[in-house]
Subunit: 342 residues, 4 copies
């Protein structure tokens, strides 16, 4: 039994307010399949947050299921996705997109991000009917490495997409940490302007489970409920997600949880630097990725759970993820242990 897990931001069940909200509905009856008043109210709050009164909002139990449902609903069989090589759909979803029949075309990107010129390069390479036709760009914000897109970057990507008839889809499993990062100059309403469709993650920001898909582009709205049902993504008791997203978005809980995890990550990053450890890249959100000597990392992982990010020659970059539930004293203890390991 280890002292604490920094493996991810979904190691705790759910924020107490979420659990209270779920319990409070008792045995009232409600419509299933996303048609209840809870879902409608939650959808209203999300639309307002995004400044997108016409967005269609759907609730899906997890991120991979959201990604495969959205992407396969948007593409004809020969159409493909453009993603960074580090994109979650390319690396960590067991070929879920390919299982729906579509190729993911990648570029290396930088800091976990895809650039407008990466998109251009994929487009130029795919010139005729012997190759797939890129049709949708997938980016994660914040990324799998905890970094964020700036307004300038997202503007450039969005323009490149529009020029080339590509949909822009944002995997917002951690949208809250991205939008509350000091490195990100975007506002929530910018998302609706730049993207065609997004999912906003609940799972990684305090919910028991559930993600909210927001569709901005009318072309992608038609028959989406059919596609959800077909992929097993139309939950019977969707009210359970409606209640959770109401709780997250009614009075700012979602952003508060995000900011807490960002603040704690910054606190840990400062502690790391104070101990003389460099970070692989700046801690923009709730990830801290320090470079530790292998020997230190090896001892540390006897006490704490975390993932290796990348093994370098002498050092190893480890990924420490701070959740909405991580308390300062867990970090203090961690830093103390780390100090003693040197």
């Amino acid at each position: 039994m280890k002292k604490y897990s920094f493996k991810n931001d979904y190691s705790e069940m759910a924020h107490p307010l979420i659990l209270e909200a779920l319990a409070s509905v008792k045995t009232a009856q409600f419509e299933g399949y996303g048609l209840c008043s809870h879902c409608e109210e939650a959808a209203g709050l999300i639309r307002k947050k995004l400044g997108a009164p016409d967005a269609d909002i759907h609730f899906i139990s997890g991120g991979t299921l959201s990604n495969l449902t959205v992407i396969s609903s948007a593409l004809r069989p020969h159409e493909a996705v453009i993603s960074a090589e580090t994109g979650h759909i390319f690396v960590h979803e067991t070929g879920a997109i390919e299982a729906t029949g579509h190729k993911v075309c990648t570029r290396a990107g930088y800091d976990g991000k895809l650039s407008a010129s990466d998109i251009k390069s994929v487009i130029e390479e795919h010139c005729d009917e012997h190759m797939v036709k890129p049709r949708l760009v997938y980016i994660s914000h914040s990324t799998e490495g905890g970094t964020v897109y700036t307004k300038a970057e997202l503007t450039a990507i969005s323009e490149k997409c529009k020029e080339n008839g590509l949909y822009l889809y944002i995997d917002g499993a951690r949208l809250g940490t991205a939008m509350n990062s000091s490195a990100c100059d975007l506002e929530y309403r910018d998302i609706a302007k730049f993207a065609d469709v997004i999912f906003i993650g609940g799972t990684k920001l305090g919910a028991l489970f559930g993600e909210a898909v927001a569709i901005f582009n009318d072309e992608l709205k038609q028959d989406f409920r059919f596609l959800m049902k077909q992929r097993g993504a139309l939950l019977a008791k969707s009210a359970a997600m409606g209640v959770q997203f109401k709780t997250l978005f009614a009075d700012g809980l979602y952003d508060r949880l995000a900011r807490h995890s960002i603040d704690m990550a910054a606190y840990m990053a400062d502690g790391m630097k104070a101990l003389g450890y460099d970070l692989l890249f700046p801690a923009q959100t709730n990830f801290v990725v320090p470079l530790l000597p292998c020997a230190v990392s090896d001892k540390l992982c006897e006490l704490y759970d975390f993932h290796e990010w990348k093994r370098l020659e002498k050092d190893v970059a480890v990924r420490l993820v701070i959740s909405w539930a991580t308390q300062q004293k867990a970090i203090d203890e961690f830093l103390e242990d780390l100090k003693n390991l040197r």
Copy 2:
């Protein structure tokens, strides 16, 4: 706003004990993706219940997702499923099985059930490589019409499957109501003897969400977690399902909820008959399907929510579903209203 909904058995959020159990874990950390102690304990209880110590147990958020994950994991591309025409996968899952590439071969069946001779008939019809190769039999127990399989029926089906190298898969979305029906002479441990794989539904028996897949046949066990992940069926916070199934199976809650709904359905069925209404078929589980004059049905549905089952010449068969949460007074009031509508 109607008085009550008899549309289905998942109109209420969750049994209070389930919600309490979820809340009780507070902010403890746990492993994700089905690897926590909650899931392991729940799996143990289910293995014990089924008398199947070697079964692999996996938790999936919903029934359609369970069906498509199990079925597509078991088949090569040219292999097909045999189902009754009324089977949930054939009618009400928006082609989810076909979307994974497999044909569903049907027979009319009887009372919502498939027979051993139906299976024989499909096998005989599929004779060469110009036709799909049937490989898996899908039955629902209880069925979409609320009926149940007897031990003799299931024995015959299982033997026919074994003779022909077919897997037998039971959709147990309502397994509890089937096994607690007086019309069903099967015991839980029979299930593991006859079937290769089953899912046991939580959603329709008091859980907030979640189904438990139990795999008995070793051939179907390999890499199942890969297939779950690929279909978006490996929930990050699977502990939430572990906790729920522990609650359902620790001390008989699952069966108690099933029996309550069966008893209430029997009570309603008796009331129907007392009012002079025939049932389309006997109320074996938690469904009551009376034949009502169309005029009566039309007025009734201004007061109550329910689905039509089948429109006959003068009468209409309506499907009234009783849930674990339905109280006797809701039924009394319904019968009183029905009496006054004549």
Copy 3:
């Protein structure tokens, strides 16, 4: 070694004129993938034949490959096909359509044909997002039983499709025998008026291999070559098909071959009746389906190859297929043998 095969109309390699035409190009170079002048000329002849100057014409090596490429190119994942239960795609293509992700919804039909009211019935049954959404109607003309659609029938089907936003796709593997049947009052140019897309079979009318897909509806034209390539349906040496279709359509060979097989079938049908055997249905095209006593059929199949169509109580309906190459003396001999078997 049997005397003759009446199993199908593709038992001979190719019409001599086809083989000559192929040989005549010698070692000239040509563009691949349907872009050569042979394909363009053949396409022009087919457009003219159909009175459809704007049709897109593509050449594909076989019927199943044509069907799966066309159908999967036209549908979104949740959309389904309507077909007669006897439709080739439903029975004899090993689940090829389902393998591309789509359900085939069937009705029994009559004489191998689907009716406008069958279509209506499927549409009415599919009412919400828990069911697939019918989007394309598949009919075979002539059908798998050798019958043909009349102008009135096709008009009714086409209107039903247009009312409901359904595409109409005709499997014309044997279009020539249908259009030259005296039971069919349609002209070639009617096809382009009623259907959105068709394939015209070469394989069963004298070609070595190859079918011509003609797309009339602009919505279905976009990126079709990508979809062909993805399914393995864009043949490198497509010129081989271009040359064949030029030969078939340049001066009426296609219709002449069709008429020959129809005439020979009529001749055989008359012979059957003269011997006192009834036909299961009238010989409208190149199929003769007599009812023979089982004992007679059993002896007959020691001498000749043919398929059983349906086993009745005492009799068996056998399907005798006449090809473009079948000579009258083969039929005379067959009838003589049959006479002697009584």
Copy 4:
């Protein structure tokens, strides 16, 4: 109209002996779907050539269709392919493999080849159920760049596959040019020892169309005809392919055509060098890839058809493909024109 096309090795219809053989069968009847004596005889010749008396041999109309049928028949849904980035299935088949549901994992490779260490690297990266499971290695021999594998290379690859439970599949669209290359020290019977399955291309070595799939591993043999039919790869008049492969393999035509193209390529390569142009890599088979100044290439392509391989700073590497039908005088004229362009 250009003087000559060096774009590929399938610009001519078919070798005269092939066309003669096809014409010679006249109107004899034969069984369809690969069951005729022509196919059986051709299969026998191929088994003998490969020293593999137990191999299953199947004929398929084209390479993409062969690749997608073989690969999708061998894999469960979560299993993936390993290929060089330059692999035909990854670049030039419009996502055909992904369309059957499978991811292709790539490594850069070298000279168009994949190495055993590339395979090791992919295996090591794929460590758990959040990632696809590599199961089949795809290599082209000769490669898309005209290079060949040596016995040492193939031995290492095969061993790496066996160690890791991976199938080895060889795309032999140009097997003949590979096996007759002086750079290749493999014998035909080595192929059956190292690979689990291969396709031997006819299209690029003088056939009108058709490829022969040879399955060595018993695990991959079961139900392959079902899978062919489902993908539209079971040609009705497969006899046409049987006749062609008999012609190619009866008395060495296949190897003679390969050697001719290799010799002519060597002749052209020498001519290039004599004119002072370097080759990007040695001409091992029937490809010549010289580095030309852009201005020269631009003028040359007004006279001749060919593809660019890669644009460098000042020069461009162009790919000149020699076919079985290319005559020395075409090359002489080309070299003369090139000389005059300087």
